[in-house]
Symmetry: C2
Subunit: 514 residues, 2 copies
Amino acid sequence: MNGAEALLRTAVSAGAEVCFANPGTTELPLVAALDSVPGVRAVLGLFEGVCTGAADGYARMRGRPALTLLHLGPGFANGIANLHNARRARSPIVNLIGDHATWHLASDAPLTSDIESLARPVSAWVHTCRSSAELASDFATAWAVASTRPGRVATLIAPSDCQWNDAEGPAKMVASEPAATVDDAKIAATVEELTRASRPALFLGARALRADALRTAWSIASATGARLLCETFPARLERGADLPNVERLPYFPDQAAASLANVDALVLVGAREPVAFFGYEDATSRLPPKDAKIVTLSSPEENCEDALAALREALHAPRPAASKAPDLPERPTGPLNPSTLGAVLATLQPEGAIVVDEGATSGLPYFNAATAAPAHTYLALTGGAIGQGLPCATGAAIACPDRKVVALQADGSALYTMQALWTQAREGLDVVTLLCANHSYRILQIELARAGISEPGAAARSLTDLSQPRVDWVALASGFGVPASRVDTTEALRSTLGAAFAERGPRLIEVALG
Amino acid sequence: MNGAEALLRTAVSAGAEVCFANPGTTELPLVAALDSVPGVRAVLGLFEGVCTGAADGYARMRGRPALTLLHLGPGFANGIANLHNARRARSPIVNLIGDHATWHLASDAPLTSDIESLARPVSAWVHTCRSSAELASDFATAWAVASTRPGRVATLIAPSDCQWNDAEGPAKMVASEPAATVDDAKIAATVEELTRASRPALFLGARALRADALRTAWSIASATGARLLCETFPARLERGADLPNVERLPYFPDQAAASLANVDALVLVGAREPVAFFGYEDATSRLPPKDAKIVTLSSPEENCEDALAALREALHAPRPAASKAPDLPERPTGPLNPSTLGAVLATLQPEGAIVVDEGATSGLPYFNAATAAPAHTYLALTGGAIGQGLPCATGAAIACPDRKVVALQADGSALYTMQALWTQAREGLDVVTLLCANHSYRILQIELARAGISEPGAAARSLTDLSQPRVDWVALASGFGVPASRVDTTEALRSTLGAAFAERGPRLIEVALG
């Protein structure tokens, strides 16, 4: 048995199921081990950002680490943007990166680079293996780090001789630390603040956005008059049907601050204190009112489900009951725009759908429309690194083959990682992409206007406009083997989307929005 | 004047002409400055790897720094792979990366990351600006670092308040250090070794691969019986017509070692000692024979043109004469394969073409066929980070609008940065892409066989085969606005390529090779 096989055996024992891979020469022993040690499904991405974004989507839905297999520093670098999002989503991921043989590094061959320096900004743990005898145990450590609740990114660099040289066998598993329990004093302090405040709010993130925790939070809100708010970009939010509605904090800082203006106690549950997404001239980072009390019930790393349950007990709030589902929007008609698009999706999406929202400005109206949709899971762009939606949908579909996945996807963002469509076609994944084609970086046009540049010059226009030439998404999707069509009316969207939901397999619908 | 405008004015004074950009909110003051301070052309890439690869191609042909404008850590990360290639090519590039306002960084907003850690592995110089008053002078330093011959990558991180706050004005230029002169002792030592050796060879890289230097090297070779060899992947090699032919060192280390087996003195001119591209089991990093003398006439950073001229003088070698151009290959016929593809291109390419070779296994036969082509420039994949060809061709076309650019491009590699086609369409660039479609990572299939895995299992097959489904390159190119067609015979390639060379503007020809 060589080091690569010892690693794979350890991975299979740990429960690894999928490896999102784009390997090269330095990873070939690990590629061969994927055959000699059965149990881990190899899924090829044509670009590393597809692999890391898929690992994020898989991890959010499956709750256990996905593996990635990437080629040296430059290959890994292509995966960094979506690992940045995964880190912000607190997704468990183990990156395996091949490197030159230990004895070859000193030669500074063309592909040599400082992989650790590249990996650190997106990894909770980075380690370069030193010998084949240690590769399996290094993996066991990486898996334990990644599995630490709610989840972390661990990066293991494996020089190729550590993969091909002999190893004794798989390593013993390393236990990962359980999520820390919130102590009674914090529960008591939160009770006190909630009781004292006149306009409290719970600000929810991480595992507080799962179904049971949301119901508990709703009981607490009902008993205390607190508002229920969640992060602007939740990693995973259960929604629809009888789940309580949660307000999403607006994106722009002035709107977010306005939303929080009346709050006098903000209780953080599985979330950090919200801050402005960007800093602006004459603005600040802080969003809650200066005199609002910020109370941390639990950090994202702590056990926020138990903390919520204990808080409910302490408040003697009633057991959570189902909330009444609001009515779905009317059968949408009228011109095709982000509002009608959101309404059509919300009215047609099937029970149990997973909606990956990288719709940017085109996706905004969907969130409110979907409050009344059947039970579904909502995955957002956590880290702001665009090009996340199509890969994330790909990974979610692999994690949950029995659920319909919808990618609500902005066109500008899709262009960073559109190669994900090929993986969807190859794996026959049940993903419907609603490609919102406004042929612009609309958010930047809005930001220019907000910055007082109401009439951008030629350079600013050329750097925010994508209409010359217009990207033909039907052609691109077809080129990758995904059946596609274009709609330019609300009626056509409704019939095309309905037909896509009635079938299985990948589909792309280019929604003409501009 | 704000910091961004002061920077742009400094850039215009320095001679900056082009900024390959994919900006976001944190770079908007610099975007606005591209309008308020005329002189720098903004070229949009839909993916950052397009911007950095184009900057590399531009820099190789123009000999002065290109600017890139990229969005925070994740946006920059998408550009790292091609900056890795640019670093290995020693291309002058100044990266401008926006960051959060200095006062916003402590909030750890979603897009915050350690940009310096990401930038260091590909940059000779990394600096984070501290105030708007310093932004222009920081840029002047970056430009000087980048301009240090033969060229370097300099990365300047510009927090958004350093862009929008007031500045006094443009900064004074900083002189860049000239390339070090090779001293007389080295010339004398090289003369001695060349005279003593029975089978010497000159190993050429960097500026020793320009036309005048090649002619000088040919005189030296004629006078001493030395072979002329060059790096396997030269950043820029002048070729064809009456230029002396230079052997390219083979890629696989056993073949490279065999090529060097008889050499008893290897004189390095603008090149480092060649090493194996990858380490293999039971192999070594070193390529020249153990007892061969390695003589450094000049490093890539030193003035190798002057060193060659001095060496020629010291050897009393005759002034360089034109070498006799060999005959072009026969009008190629027969089945379409890499050999006939290479021969067709070599026979049809126009005078002055710039050939960007990321053909990988499909591109190998072209190099020898083109020895007899009209004078042209050859740009190779210097750092092994794939996805370089289409962006590099884009940048080369912007640097040299009067020359025909040919991208000899492998399909697997093209899939990393195919968004470059859109920039070619938008800018109307005169680039013909020969898309070599063998629908596999053929090099990995070869490497598996070399590693003794003659019958790869299902995972290894799935990770090296791209045929299910086949990517339709005509559809992809059309989707990006580039006219495209597919050829599956040598005859069809000849007529289609001939027609493409007779016109201007971007074209893609999918060459069916498997």
